[in-house]
Amino acid sequence: MSETPLASLSRRSFMTGSVSAAAAGPLMATSAKAAAPQPAASAEPRDLSAISLRINKQPYNLALDNRTSLLDALRDHVGLTGTKKGCDHGQCGACTVLVDGKRVLSCLSFAVMNKGHEITTVEGLASADGNLHPMQQAFIDNDAFQCGYCTPGQIMSAIGCINEGHAGSEGDIREYMSGNLCRCAAYPNIVAAIMQAQDETRKA
């Protein structure tokens, strides 16, 4: 019961659960209005905005409060809870996702500012047949986590770090991965995992 992967749980519950109720109930009621083209000047602060996001190559049409962070949009409105909230102020890195291939902090980004961008979360890494991304496998091989909470952010940041060309040495990895706190302090293992996965990640 407690080992049930979340995906199956959330997919099922989501049909009847948070989208239709917590989010979709009040949201959908106003979404039609929000989605309709309106002159900017007449907009009210509490109006929901119609937002189309591409997340893990899937399109999503949402009606969101302008205040909703990309992080909360992912977690509470799309049901992708792999991305974690650790501070909500850009201080821990747990919410790291890729936007157009670059790592960013989803807690400091309003969802409404991400229209038209390609967002990749930890759920979008493994291939459809279930094969793990090389970075995910490397994290397992090197025990690069303990509690696992910061792990999605670490993995996304690690991939971003390699994409940026900042994973050339252990020293570079340590420096450029310092925006991702790991309170269990798996740092040396995280560095080892990135060293292991960097060649394959570049090819991936």
Partner: protein, 340 residues
């Protein structure tokens, strides 16, 4: 967080027009009803804390002008579009080569993720991290003019020793700005009434009696570019940042140093100090102390003494004075010894 209207104009003039519509006499940009957002790393944080309360956010990321996203490295200057992200500027090979201080001040700031998000213009406008400013239940002259300063007699280890006033001792924490002020950069701004250039050294205002007014900018002025002149000093330049931990922390003290050397003698020194002052801080007295001198330990120490001659310590930040001096000495000697 207060709810806000979101707008995404397509041009600088449209952005300025929106801001202008909601601007009010005597209200600084940080308190304006309509505020600009680019990376959001600073503003979103402060909105969530309730410190910033714009009723309208004007997203600059839809601006069409390509120059806003470009870096042009010319023979005698580097021009940064305002929307260039910190990470991109830090990684530009030409900048690392031509003016290492600029790239280092960006690389040592924040984290990889934040550097990917934060625009250069937004970065230089970042607001203080004073704990009493960040928490709205404390009195704070910067946040609530006239309410008092809780930091003055409170826990003030991270606070400024230079440029303080009786109203405010909050530190300016940015790094890039130290490089810009040392190098004599210029900021280009645009409003409906036209364009103007502001010397970077005039962009930030000392707190004096009005710490809530942080810059020379009007609420409807959009920074469009930052121009940094290059000179004989550019290649021999460094940014030394001292922190409690190895990375991802604000400076306890930092020094941006650029030197034009004639043999062992300093023809021109350009020096700025971070982590110790209320605004980006050009250390002119230190520059003058070095001018025409051979840069040995003694000269470096004399320059450091000059830089901190006016420093005013509080209960917990007195260490910043010796630390600031030694940071400058170290930066001077390391810069002197650079192979260029």
């Amino acid at each position: 967080m207060r709810p806000f209207v979101y707008e995404r104009p397509a041009s600088v003039s449209a952005a300025a027009a929106i801001a202008s519509r909601f601007a009010a006499e005597g209200v600084p940009p940080t308190e304006a009803a309509a505020q600009f957002i680019a990376g959001g790393t600073n503003l979103a944080d402060y909105m969530r804390l309730g410190v910033a309360q714009p009723a309208r956010l004007v997203d600059l990321n839809g601006l069409g002008d390509r120059a806003l996203r470009q870096i042009e490295v010319g023979d005698d200057s580097i021009r940064f579009g305002a929307l260039v992200r910190m990470g991109e500027a830090a990684d530009t090979g030409e900048i690392k080569r031509r003016c290492p201080m600029l790239a280092e001040s960006l690389k040592f700031a924040a984290s990889g993720q934040i550097r990917n998000m934060a625009s250069l213009a937004g970065n230089v406008l970042q607001r203080t991290r004073c704990e009493y400013f960040r928490e709205t239940s404390w009195p704070c002259n910067k946040r609530e003019p006239g309410s008092g300063c809780a930091a003055m007699e409170g826990f003030n280890r991270q606070h400024a020793v230079l440029g303080t006033s009786n109203a405010c001792i909050a530190t300016y924490h940015g790094d890039f700005a130290q490089a810009l002020i040392a190098l004599g950069a210029t900021v280009e701004v645009e409003a409906r009434r036209g364009m103007r250039k502001i010397a970077f050294s005039r962009l930030h205002r000392l707190p004096r009696d009005t710490p809530n007014v942080e810059t020379e900018l009007a609420p409807d002025e959009v920074i469009t570019a930052i121009e940094v002149p290059l000179g004989a000093w550019s290649r021999r330049s460094r940014y030394v940042k001292i922190r409690d931990r190895e990375s991802y922390a604000f400076a306890l003290a930092s020094a941006a140093v650029a030197l034009d050397m004639d043999g062992d003698t300093v023809s021109q020194a350009r020096i700025a100090l971070g982590g110790v002052a209320t605004v980006p801080w050009r250390a002119r007295a230190a520059e003058e102390a070095l001018s025409g001198k051979a840069l040995d330990d003694e000269a470096a120490e004399a320059a450091a003494e000059a830089a901190f001659a006016e420093a005013k310590p509080r209960e917990h930040n007195a260490f910043k004075i010796p630390l600031g001096k030694r940071t400058l000495v170290r930066a001077l000697l390391e810069t002197r010894d650079m192979k260029v």
